[in-house]
């Protein structure tokens, strides 16, 4: 399928909007820095106040880049999941990735006392939480996939993912019961998501994962389009279903797993952006939607992050609070609209 002129125009407008939101996100924060200073700093000319320069280059800039990576990764994952499972409520975490991450991180933060000492020391390293989260996600993923292999239907994977999510939830609850207030607070804060905490090495790793994931996702566009007719027609068109499923699930795992490991679970972006993109571009052509998500995902997350910084006020809000305020009405509205054939 090809891009229509209208689509190209829309993509152009939203790319411009993305750059605008990026600039706004860099300009607004807890302390007000004049726009001129920001542009000076970004263009390498330094700033009149060294604190400002530090804040823009070492806090706001990495945060904005993280935002963009996370926005792209989660919205593309959401798109893939919604088409693969043919369910408008599917989102990147249905495979159990966030449950697995919670499991891993809870072991580090809440359950450290129960682990053998050498593992404890390993996990106390700066990247301890990232590694624990990735391992947890991987473990849960393997369980979901091996159970799903026995089941023929794609839909079954959804249910298995949900059930495993309940199990990990229960496990984390038990750990919470035996933890101190300090530990519980730490864990809760992790699960609220945090975009502002990555160093440049972490961002580099995230970008690499993003590129790999996007490449794989691109490979599956053709198959996703044929899935619009249903699995049987797709097979009759020569789509190798097994391979496609593996590619889509792998892409989702890399994209969502890496994001969750570094910034924690981010609510609703995976679910909402794919729908917003479909609404704006009014097409089911996955190539258009792919490009749309890559632009709309980061745009909206940048707006959410800017709001969460509460510029002008003395406090900040966790990112998940803002994305949920955005996402929840969208989910409700979706359910109301489900009668309509547009999805």
């Amino acid at each position: 399928m090809t891009l229509s002129k209208k689509h190209i125009l829309l993509l152009g407008i939203f790319t411009f909007a993305l750059l605008l939101f990026l600039l706004i996100n860099l300009s607004l924060g807890s302390i007000s820095i004049p726009l001129k200073e920001i542009i000076l700093t970004l263009t390498g000319n330094g700033s009149s106040k060294s604190t400002w320069e530090y804040i823009v280059l070492n806090y706001r800039l990495p945060k904005a880049i993280t935002c963009i990576c996370v926005g792209i990764a989660l919205s593309i994952s959401g798109l893939l999941m919604q088409t693969l499972f043919r369910n408008p409520l599917a989102e990147p975490y249905v495979l159990g990735i966030s449950s697995g991450a919670s499991l891993g991180v809870s072991m580090v933060i809440l359950g450290a006392g129960f682990l053998p000492t050498f593992i404890q020391n390993f996990l106390l390293q700066p990247y301890g939480i990232v590694i624990a989260s990735s391992l947890g996600s991987l473990l849960v993923l393997l369980v979901v996939l091996s159970v799903a292999k026995q089941l023929k239907q794609t839909m079954a994977i959804l249910i298995v993912g949900l059930m495993i999510g309940s199990f990990t939830s229960a496990f984390v609850s038990v750990l919470t019961y035996f933890s101190s207030a300090e530990q519980i607070k730490k864990f809760t804060f992790w699960s609220l998501g945090n975009l502002g905490n990555l160093d440049w090495l972490a961002i580099k790793i995230l970008v690499v994962c993003l590129v790999i994931g996007l490449f794989l996702a691109l490979q599956s566009i053709k198959a996703l389009n044929s899935l619009l007719l249903g699995e049987n027609y797709a097979k009759s068109l020569g789509i190798n279903f097994r391979t496609t499923r593996i590619i889509i699930i792998t892409a989702t795992c890399i994209l969502t797993g890496s994001v969750t490991a570094f910034v924690g679970p981010i609510a609703f972006i995976g679910l909402a952006i794919a729908h917003i993109t479909k609404l704006i571009f009014k097409t089911s052509n996955h190539f258009v939607l792919y490009l749309g998500c890559i632009i709309l995902g980061p745009s909206i997350l940048l707006i959410c992050d800017t709001i969460s910084q509460m510029p002008g006020y003395n406090f900040v809000l966790p990112i998940n609070a803002i994305t949920s305020i955005l996402g929840a009405p969208i989910v409700v509205w979706l359910l109301v609209r489900k009668n309509n054939k547009i999805v």
Binding site: G29, S30, I31, T51, Y54, I55, N58, Y59, R60, K63, P126, E182, K186, F189, N194, G196, N197, D199, Q309, N314, F315, V316
Partner: protein, 399 residues
Amino acid sequence: MLIIKVLLFKTSFYFCDSLILVKMKKISLLVLVAIFILSCSEKSEQKKSTNHVANEIEYAKNFELYTYPNFKILKITKPWQQATTSLTYVLAKNLAIVPDSLKTEKIIQIPVQKTISTSTTHIPSYEMLGQVDALIGFPHLDYISSEKVRSRINSNLVKEVGESENLNTEVIIELSPDLIIGYGMDSSNKALDNLNKMGIAVIYNADWTEQTPLGKAEWIKFFGVLFDKNDLANSIFKEIVTEYDTLKNLAKTAKNKPDVFSGGLYQDTWYAPKGTSWGSIFIEDAHANYIWKNTTGDGSIAISIEQALNEAKNTPIWINPSSFESLADLKNNSKHNLEFDAYKTGEIYSFSMKKGQSGGSIYYELAPNRPDLVLKDLIKILHPELLPDYKLYFYEKLK
């Protein structure tokens, strides 16, 4: 009295309704004034009967102590942060002498000999009043640092009773204490309520709600009542007050008033105590300026790293960097910490490194009872020239 009041009210309204309004209004006004005066005197009559005894507590705001010939009354006016009512306890050596009018309140027989405490902040009072033998149970024994109590724990004379939010009812019933000294975060305390219903006396200690250094220390008098050692408690407290005031005056003689900041980063939010919190008041008393002293209320401030850097980067001294215990810890926590001048000069001080034998925090246990030592430490840190021979007790410089 009430019936007369009602009748007078009714008659005044009747007069207002009639056609000779103006004249009658005057009369009804007089009637109303008469009622007011009558009820005022009624109240003062009641006051006279019980209020001839004064509250003995001067600094602490959240409890009151009244001593009567045969009993004492402890009134906890703010048992928890959002409390709307107070809790009253009657303490007597001989329960038979308690007047009938007070029999509806909670009555505790003193002195208590077998007690369960639920907070390490109670332990110093036990020790200072020579009553460590009275402690038979505590939730999470590892938290206790006091050496005397630790040796009792090691001899199995103090039992583990669960978690403070989740007390082990069975163990406690078996220990059969005279009194449980508990604390509540809010009005629902199921475990303590259940134990009370089963016949075990419970008293709520609210020392943690006090926000002033001397106010917290004055709670030793609470324990003085329970152990019938009021005179000892009073004299200990008096010494602490004198020492504290002396130190405060000494601090005022310092030549400069340095800026101080506090708190630490978690992810990208900076948490620090508010200006009206107990810890922050010490800084002011030590003749220094806490940069966030204008924040009020309970809990901590949560500001973004941007704001923290903007406001504290050039502040010379960093006191209480959350729970971090070394410069390496701070570096691991976040590279933003390296931007603070205080990190570069190494002027960071914390009490987190001083721990008891089993890892409990000595500061959280002892400092509320010994504000004088805390103040002395801070003066030593902020104005070392004023106390040349003193060695820090709670605080240490971060390495």
